[in-house]
């Protein structure tokens, strides 16, 4: 049997439903040493902002049981360098390009989205877990009214499909998902990291220089499955699901919960070949189970 791993949304076809989670894969340059990026349905890049960001002091990462905390602080060289250095590199592969966008204000998001709309990227993924400078550093992504505003503003200036990347640090993910849909989003990505903290008991101080960090990895997978499910029930938008995916089975859980595509993040650190191995595992699963197309599994949990 020929199994079909391809998925389509927003008028785009992806050869398979596996991409990389933003910030865990750079722009793929480091991982192309390990495998051909054309094996992926898409590459999702590290967040880029209109101007360069310095990021936080070290330590920026800490291991936790079945996961990790990170507080990189969205260090990135800005849209201009991204456009001149990273995009031409990615265009050399037969894969789609999803660029993750960050900003400190709605204006910054819009400028970045506008500039990136003029390039070869396929999808803009808007990370709304960034601190909102105007609102005293609280994340944009936790208040439905703000999510609606930022979605609408970015949509207005973008010529590419806009996916809003949602924070899990909210009471109701369904409310936030609906706000993004009302703002005109073309799709959703979730989940971003869960805010956590680690304390060094001998030093009696915070482990990360930033004190708090985002929890990712297999530890958060069940939260991701639940939230993708709730978001998928609340809206009729395509979803890129992520959170703790390490195996093809983990990816399938998110697909059955409602994701059209799945991103592999922290697992890349545990195995640089994790993403292509998951693609292979998906194909094997479908063959074993006699499933002709992965599309038939999207949201098929009952």
């Amino acid at each position: 049997m020929v199994t079909d791993l391809s998925v389509d949304f927003c008028g785009l076809t992806f050869k398979n439903p596996i991409t990389t989670a933003s910030g865990t894969f750079g722009s793929g340059m480091e991982y192309k040493e390990f495998f051909d990026l054309s094996l992926l349905g898409a590459v999702t890049t590290k967040g880029v902002s209109i101007d360069p960001w310095e990021g936080n002091e070290v330590p920026r990462v800490a291991e936790t049981p079945s996961g990790m905390l990170n507080a990189i602080g969205l260090q990135n060289p800005g849209v201009k360098v991204f456009q001149e250095r990273d995009l031409p590199f990615l265009e050399g592969f037969d894969t789609r390009i999803i660029v993750n966008v960050c900003g400190h204000s709605i204006e910054e998001y819009c400028r970045a989205a506008q500039a990136l709309s003029e390039t070869a990227v396929d999808i803009l993924e808007i990370n709304i877990s960034c601190p909102n400078v105007a609102e005293g550093g609280l994340s944009f992504g936790t208040d439905p009214a703000q999510v609606l505003r930022i979605t609408r503003a970015v949509k207005d200036v973008s010529k590419k499909p806009v996916f809003m990347k949602l924070s899990p640090n909210v009471t109701s993910i369904a409310e936030i998902a609906k706000a993004a849909e009302a703002g005109g989003a073309d799709g959703l990505s979730l989940i971003n990291t869960l805010t956590g903290m680690k304390i060094d008991v001998r030093k009696r101080s915070f482990f990360l220089a930033n004190r708090t960090g985002g929890l990712s990895g297999p530890a958060i997978h069940p939260v991701a499955v639940r939230m993708v499910y709730e978001a998928a029930r609340a809206v009729s938008l395509p979803i890129i699901g992520m959170g703790g995916v390490r195996t093809a089975e983990d990816a399938l859980e998110l697909i059955l919960a409602g994701a059209s595509m799945v991103a592999v993040g922290t697992a890349n650190f545990h195995d640089p070949l994790a993403a292509p191995r998951i693609v292979k595992g998906l194909a094997e699963f479908m063959e074993e189970e006699g499933i002709a197309s992965v599309k038939s599994l999207i949201g098929a949990v009952e």
């Binding site: 040493e33 990462v61 049981p65 079945s66 990170n70 990189i72 260090q75 990895g217 390490r246 545990h270």
Partner: protein, 249 residues
């Protein structure tokens, strides 16, 4: 620099050479043939609750496609490694990072604690009897010292004064009279900063190997990006070895 590879190595031997310090030899020809002194390997745990790689320096490379790690048991991951025996598998990616530059002429090397280990491969490869190696230990458990002494001149400092000079490697170096063209060092941060200053006063180029918490180990996540003089530097990619001029100290 050659590209890194993923390789499942096979343990050939392991022994405890001092209290909590292990000497591990792994058959890993693909990594071995690419390795340079100062580079490191990401070693993965079997326990899936410990996802992140443990960066361990390449302490030596054998002609038969083996690599050697010398390491201290510091926590659960290195404890797991210490329980491995001959025939066990060890998943790794490497070699990673830049390594020490090749520099002719005599060198002075400073190694402190676990920072001694990456210097061993360097000293063996240089094999210059006029190189002077200062090794700093806690006490008279002088692991790997004899191997260094076969390739270069060794001087020792111990924290408790039980062997050599009491104090740090800098105390042992004092006002060195010999001429030399480069300084190589690895060890705790205060020691590296002291070596940086010591080399600076003498107008000699220093190459310092830094340690930082890592996640990807390959340059993608920016988890290990420390402040450099001009820009942030990824310890796993631009480093772990930096020339003094790159550092903002």
């Amino acid at each position: 620099m050659s590209t890194p590879v993923e390789e499942v190595g096979v343990i050939l031997s392991q022994k405890e050479i001092a209290n909590g310090i292990f000497d591990l030899t792994v058959q890993a020809p693909e990594i071995a043939k690419r390795s340079l002194p100062g580079q490191f390997v990401s070693v993965f745990c079997r326990d899936l609750s410990r996802l992140l790689p443990r960066p361990i320096s390449i302490a030596d490379v054998g002609a038969e496609g083996t690599i050697r790690f010398l390491y201290r048991v510091a926590g659960a991951g290195t404890y797991e490694f210490s329980t491995l025996i001959r025939g066990d598998a060890l998943r790794m990616t490497g070699p990673l990072g830049n390594g020490f530059p090749e520099i002719s002429g005599n060198a002075v090397l400073f190694g402190g604690g676990i920072g001694i280990f990456p210097l061993l491969y360097l000293v063996k490869k240089r094999h210059n009897p006029k190189d002077i190696v200062f090794l700093g230990y806690r006490n008279k458990e002088l692991f790997a010292m004899e191997e260094f002494a076969r390739c270069a001149e060794v001087r020792v400092a111990t924290e408790d004064g039980s062997f050599g000079v009491r104090g740090t490697v800098l105390d042992a170096a004092g006002d060195l009279k010999e001429d030399f063209s480069a300084v190589f060092s690895c060890g705790p941060l205060p020691m590296l900063k002291a070596v940086f200053a010591w080399a600076g006063e003498r107008g000699v180029q220093a190459y310092l190997s830094l340690e930082e918490r890592m996640a990807c180990g390959v340059g993608a996540c920016l988890g290990c990006a420390v402040s450099g003089k001009k820009k942030r530097l990824r310890v796993c990619k631009e480093g772990p070895v930096f020339s003094a001029g790159e550092l903002p100290w």
